[in-house]
Symmetry: C2
Subunit: 143 residues, 2 copies
DNA sequence: GTGCTTATATGATCTATGTCATGTTTTTTT
DNA sequence: AAAAAAACATGACATAGATCATATAAGCAC
């Protein structure tokens, strides 16, 4: 689709962590089970996010992944940038080099609207913002 | 992005053929050169379209690919369906099974609105419709 | 009809992505 | 100090997608 599978997993996992009490740590197995994601793979993805300081982790017994207040307030788009890079939002939908309004492809306007809309949504919404919607059962992170 | 590379190639190639005079045949090498696409690969993609009766072809000397009047009037979305299937427009952007407004993911609304938009654009526009825009230099099929 | 030019068919190879598996390090518990 | 539990690190494997290559069949020109 728009994002790589790794990125989809990353987004779902961080939104999942956002639901927890502040500083409550969740083990990888629990996250993977709840989200229906292969644990080892998700582990790898989360490590990347830890390195990028978008997610925190604690080793040892009772350790796990969690989000700090600071991390909760970062926009969701940071996750996308960390995993898929910034180019996703600027690639031509027909694969032509240098997507731009100067030399648009026939689908440019429609594609750009789509891309921009998602980009804006992810930029304006913090990781924490999904909390209430998920909590109230309006939206879901897993089937 | 949204479509597979094969599908991107397919869309560009058919729009390219739409520019030709009716029933003018173009060889695969010419198309590939003009669009900067590996010839053998594009060849394979076009064969699929020929099988699906979205593009016509003629063998032998002075043979090549071309579009009939009938084919020119078909909507562009047929190309997408032939190569990527119908699911592209119904897959959840976060990879959750069964994208639906009943059980939406946090990005569903942002994704669906504009995904539908692209789908509608491709459904309402015939293959031939790109002609004038391309011809007048408003839009481009290659860098 | 012979030879050339073209699409067609099929499969091999390469590449990126996703998945699995193993071992190491850190921290807590006892 | 020892043991256990967890993240961390690394690499092997699998799969799908994209690319390349070869051989076959069909049509045109002469
Ligand atoms: S040029 Fe194709 S999407 Fe912008
Ligand atoms: S449920 Fe995720 S895009 Fe529809």
């Amino acid at each position: 689709m728009l994002f790589s599978k790794s990125c989809e997993y990353a987004l779902r996992a961080t939104m999942y962590l956002a639901q927890m009490e502040s500083n409550e740590k969740v083990g990888i197995k629990v996250i993977a089970r709840d989200l229906n994601i292969p644990a080892d793979y998700l582990n790898k993805v989360l490590q990347t996010l830890v390195q990028q300081q978008l997610v925190s982790s604690a080793k040892g017994r009772n350790g796990g992944f969690y989000l700090t207040k600071n991390e909760l307030n970062k926009p969701l788009i940071n996750i996308v940038h960390a995993i898929d890079g910034k180019e996703v939002f600027y690639r031509c939908g027909l694969g032509i080099k240098n997507c731009s309004s100067k030399k648009p492809c026939p689908l440019h306007n429609d594609i750009k609207a789509y891309r921009d809309n998602i980009k804006i949504a992810l930029s304006n919404n913090s990781i924490a913002s999904s909390r209430s919607q998920i909590d109230s059962g309006e939206v879901f992170l897993s089937k």
